[in-house]
Amino acid sequence: MTKKRISQALLIIILTLGAITMLVPFIWMLSTALKTAPETVRVPPTWIPKHLQWQNFVTAWHAAPFLTYFINSLIVTTVTTIGQLFTTILAAFAFSRLNFYGKNFLFALFLSTMMVPGEMLIIPNFVTLSKFSLINTFGALIIPWLASFFAVFTLRQTFNAIPNELYYAAKLDGSSDWHFLWTMMVPLSKSAITAIGILEVIGSWNSFMWPLIVTNTAKVRTLPVGLNAFTSDAGTQFQLLMAASTFVILPMIIVYLCLQKYIIAGISKSGLKG
């Protein structure tokens, strides 16, 4: 069995080298964020800063309205995710359990729209939102993302897997559709719903092009747009740029490390997002 051991050891070595390569940008970001300005431009570069400059985070945080950006991102992400889950659960239930005229047509219509690149919709959506005077408001950042057919499609599959007998039994007991949905189907699909929710949290938090286009003041900017705006102020102060990047990235890394299994399960179930 030594041959197996050697091959396992070799595997681990190769995978470790790969993993380190994947992590280098993060390590480099942190390392730079903790350096003094002169140390960032030292040649050859140092990995471990001589004196850890923790105050860089404080300086960067106050160099731009990051608190506002952070709160904005928090609001937009929370409202979008909860709202989208709500519309998704209701629609997935209708497609999974209810009979209605036009069901197949609607489903096919939605499926075919998934092929259309979202970038193409930016222009008409911008015009629509301007008509409602919603540009540069939270409305523009949130409302278009309150529904996702991709999410409906995924959740419908989970709902379909729940045995019909449960539904019949509940009906016989005189339970309403509404009651059945929230007391049976939703709790039974908890992990799928969590997965959809987390993927939306990540997507919403990191979203850039749309918020860039529909915001033009610091008051409503989200973190990625705010960070991008900060680059022109920070100039070549790499330690501040990296400190700011760190606190934009950190919340999602925490979310990911805590809820990893849901995220991976969510992608595994339907790798169509992209």
């Binding site: 396992q8 595997l11 190769i14 995978l15 790969g18 994947m22 940008p25 480099w28 970001m29 730079t32 960032t40 050859p44 570069p45 709500f86 519309t87 239930f93 209708a94 209810l98 009979n99 209605f100 005229y101 069901k103 609607l106 219509l109 729209t113 092929m115 259309v116 690149p117 979202g118 970038e119 193409m120 930016i122 222009i123 008409p124 911008f126 015009v127 301007s130 008509k131 529904a147 409906v152 019909n164 019949y168 990191n206 092009m209 286009i213 960070l227 680059t231 790499f238 740029l241 990047s245 760190t246 934009v248 890394i253 990911y256 990893q260 992608i267 595994s268 790798g271 169509l272 992209g274």
Partner: protein, 298 residues
């Protein structure tokens, strides 16, 4: 499913459930698809009043005689061809290794997947710093091998490779997860039977694993190609809001963004969006057509 015929009452109830999703989707997903096509024919358009005073093919004529647009299509294709094959191959190899490793697999997965959950803006800034010609990490690393400093982000020859390397790095984890799902769905007995028949590891990989994995390889390729066609955020941040040195990373979506947001030429931007859509459609159809011959659904 309950085999009942829909009634007016059941339809009304169902639409009450569908309504929130339906309203949002109709306004922000379905209507804009048609509106985009329509807008691409607007030649005289007042955005403030949403009034159209002339229609025609002028927007399409414009983009098809605009060297910048051809450049953007060319760059987008180069980008897709640069990213997809490497990304698919690398993630397949790593997934195969991860599938076999018996220790630390979870830890490795975490590391490979980490870039996927991070903000593109933030991580592009980190790469901008890595690519810095004087103080960047990459040039410092390459100097050990006697490579002279490369001006990754300001040299038109190197801007696209820089973008491609970063994109592969960021998307690898997502593809690895999909391949791991594909690998775990393969029945181990196929491999065992082949082994009994005397096939060596390489033969088993080529004749058993690879064909059985082909549906997932296909899915990974299709999603990678589609997202490749839509690249924007990475370019915008990496090159400080510009389409790269000498427009070397001007892609279709960047072209659309410039026409729409910087030049306010809505019709032209919409026309480039339509072309993007058709390009994605054609490439996806070609991939599906190819897959009918080469993808084996076990």
């Amino acid at each position: 499913m309950i085999k009942q015929h829909p009634t007016i009452k059941s339809t009304l109830i169902a639409f009450a459930y569908l309504a929130p999703m339906l309203i949002i989707t109709l306004v922000f997903n379905i209507y804009p698809i048609f509106k985009s096509f329509a807008m691409s024919f607007y030649t005289k358009y007042d955005f403030f009043t949403d009034k159209v005073s002339a229609l025609g093919w002028a927007n399409y004529k414009f983009i098809f005689s605009d060297p910048d647009f051809y450049l953007s299509v060319r760059n987008t294709l180069i980008f897709v061809l640069g990213v997809v094959p490497f990304s698919v191959l690398l993630s397949l190899i790593i997934a195969l290794l991860l599938h076999r490793v018996r220790f630390l697999a979870g830890l490795f997965k975490t590391a490979y997947f980490l870039p996927f959950v991070t903000s593109t803006v933030a991580i592009s800034l980190v790469w901008q710093w890595i690519y810095n010609d004087q103080y960047g990490l990459l040039n410092a690393f390459l100097s050990h091998f006697g490579v002279h400093p490369i001006d990754w982000l300001n040299d038109p020859h190197w801007a696209m490779p820089a973008l491609i390397i970063m994109t592969i790095w960021k998307g690898l984890g997502f593809n690895i997860i999909l391949f791991l799902v594909g690998l775990s769905n393969i029945d181990k007995r196929y491999d065992q039977v082949a082994q009994i028949d005397g096939a060596n590891a390489w033969q088993r990989f080529i004749h058993v694993t690879l064909p059985l994995l082909s549906p997932m390889t296909f899915l990974v390729s299709v999603t990678s190609v589609i997202s490749g066609f839509k690249v924007f955020d990475e370019i915008f941040v990496l090159f400080g809001g510009s389409p790269g040195p000498g427009k070397s990373t001007l892609t279709i979506v960047f072209y659309l963004y410039q026409k729409f947001y910087s030049e306010w030429k809505y019709g032209i931007a919409a026309a480039s969006g339509v072309v993007l859509f058709l390009l994605i459609l054609v490439v996806t159809i070609i991939q599906f057509w190819y897959s009918r011959k080469h993808v084996h659904y076990a």
